[in-house]
Amino acid sequence: MRVSWFLKEAFISLRRNLVTSFAAITAVALCLFVLGVFGLFILEVGQIISSLESDVEVVAFLKDTATTQEINDLQHKIFNWPEIDKMKYVSKEEALKRFRKEHPDLTQEIGDVNPLPASFEIQLKDPHDVEKIAKRLEKMEVVEEVKYGKKYVRNLFKLTSTLRRIGLLFIILLLFVSVTLIAITIRLAIFARRQEVAIMRLVGASNWFIRLPFLLEGMIEGFAGSILASIIIYLLWIFFFPWIEKALPFLPFEMSYILVFQIIFGLIVFGLTIGALGSTIALRRYLKV
């Protein structure tokens, strides 16, 4: 079938409803722009968080009375837990050495007695297990005290899940708006061409032949919106990213062109999907073929 015919029909229709088409394209662009910015943000924050999360560590301080045998047994036992990724034994001497290195000015006052306890430094496969592991460690005979960034960890996890939820909500809302706007423009297009549609039905044009120009119209709008959003995001990225990187040097930012192009590709796919979805809804409701 002649693709050019359908494209021509779609563009004629776009031109006829210039204002509404423009509104729909702008809405899609806005939606996808926010989606893109949010996507970038989530990916970045995700990166930062996962690098922070992997820093989460449980330290079990051991009683001074613990014998070497007891310590060895415990080490074996803990290491056999499936949640454990890495663990390290820090002896009293090792702890003192570290302390001296980090605080050379305080070492004079310590004298001969070593006040620092021996400890296990434990890293987990999944940082979310940290509280469970800490509780289990506390029950151990030779363990004096367990430390981990309790509050810090909890807040961090709360923050990430809240952010994800808000983001999702926002995106769903915006998607709904763009799909609706596209559906409205397609509905107007159908209305503007109802005579032609009636005649097409009368002479026996197949259903997809009648639908295709409208479907294409919606997809063109979605595509145009996604291109617009991509351009804005790309420009923003070029201008602002070096600035953010400089302003927040302590955050483990890492942003590549690959990431941005992934986002842009995603936006285009999304734009086409929004367009197709919007016009499909309009076609189902307003075009009984």
Binding site: M1, R2, W5, Q195, E196, A198, I199, M200, R201, L202, V203, G204, A205, S206, N207, F209, I210
Partner: protein, 228 residues
């Protein structure tokens, strides 16, 4: 060509059926008038044949197709067998005469070459070969109806349906249009014309099927519009 068996149609929220137990058989090549006052069920019958609506009960066959059991996605293939003419012409105002007729072939995906041969042919048949580049608003009512007839038959369907084709035309123009239907019929197309134009029916002396209150009250070879 058309076969209706015990066809009844109720519209929702109406007590009386629009059509009641209709039995009608129209053979290939016939010319039939469907007559009756407004509201007698003529248009309902036409819409049933086109599968715009489904009957409440009964069976309908058009051009060998079981219309009632037809899957909805196959409806377009039914309609390719039926040319259709209406009282209000249904022409596209922003297309020329040629484009209006060509449109019927374009939307069936016919190649340019065929369109450029068939459209002038059919315009010649309806006597509008010199008006091909005119727009509908530049034509008289009779000429517009000829364009719509040209569009209806350009795909060479075996059946031509007309619903009040002369309702908007003056008597002499109506006779011309009827003569054209007759000509198309003589070329082998089965023609069914729904009308309440008494003069026209009487002048043609064709088979007449009379509807009244949704029922067939008369079916007559070489008939007239009848009393009343």
């Amino acid at each position: 060509m058309i076969l209706a068996r015990n066809v009844t149609k109720f519209y929702p929220k109406h007590d009386k059926p629009a059509l009641h137990n209709i039995n009608l058989s129209i053979s290939k090549g016939e010319f039939v008038f469907l007559v009756g006052p407004s509201g007698s069920g003529k248009t309902t019958f036409i819409r049933l044949l086109l599968r715009e609506i489904l009957p409440t009960s009964g069976e309908i066959e058009v051009a060998g197709i079981d219309v009632v059991r037809l899957r909805s996605w196959k409806i377009p293939y039914l309609r390719r067998n039926i040319g259709c003419v209406f009282q209000d012409f249904k022409l596209l105002p922003n297309k020329t005469v040629f484009e209006n007729v060509a449109f019927a072939l374009e939307v069936l995906g016919k190649p340019r070459k065929i369109i450029e041969v068939h459209v002038p042919e059919v315009l010649k048949l309806v006597g509008l070969e010199d008006k091909a580049e005119k727009f509908p608003h530049e034509l008289s009512g009779g000429e517009q109806q000829r364009v719509s007839m040209a569009r209806a038959i350009v795909n060479r369907p075996p059946l031509l349906l007309a619903d009040e084709p002369t309702g908007n035309l003056d008597p002499s123009t109506s006779l011309e249009i009827m003569a054209l239907f007759d000509r198309i019929n003589r070329l082998g197309t089965t023609v069914l014309v729904a009308t309440h134009d008494r003069e026209m029916v009487d002048s043609m002396r064709k088979r007449v099927v009379a509807l009244e209150n949704g029922q067939i009250v008369r079916d007559q070879r070489r008939g007239v519009y009848g009393e009343g």
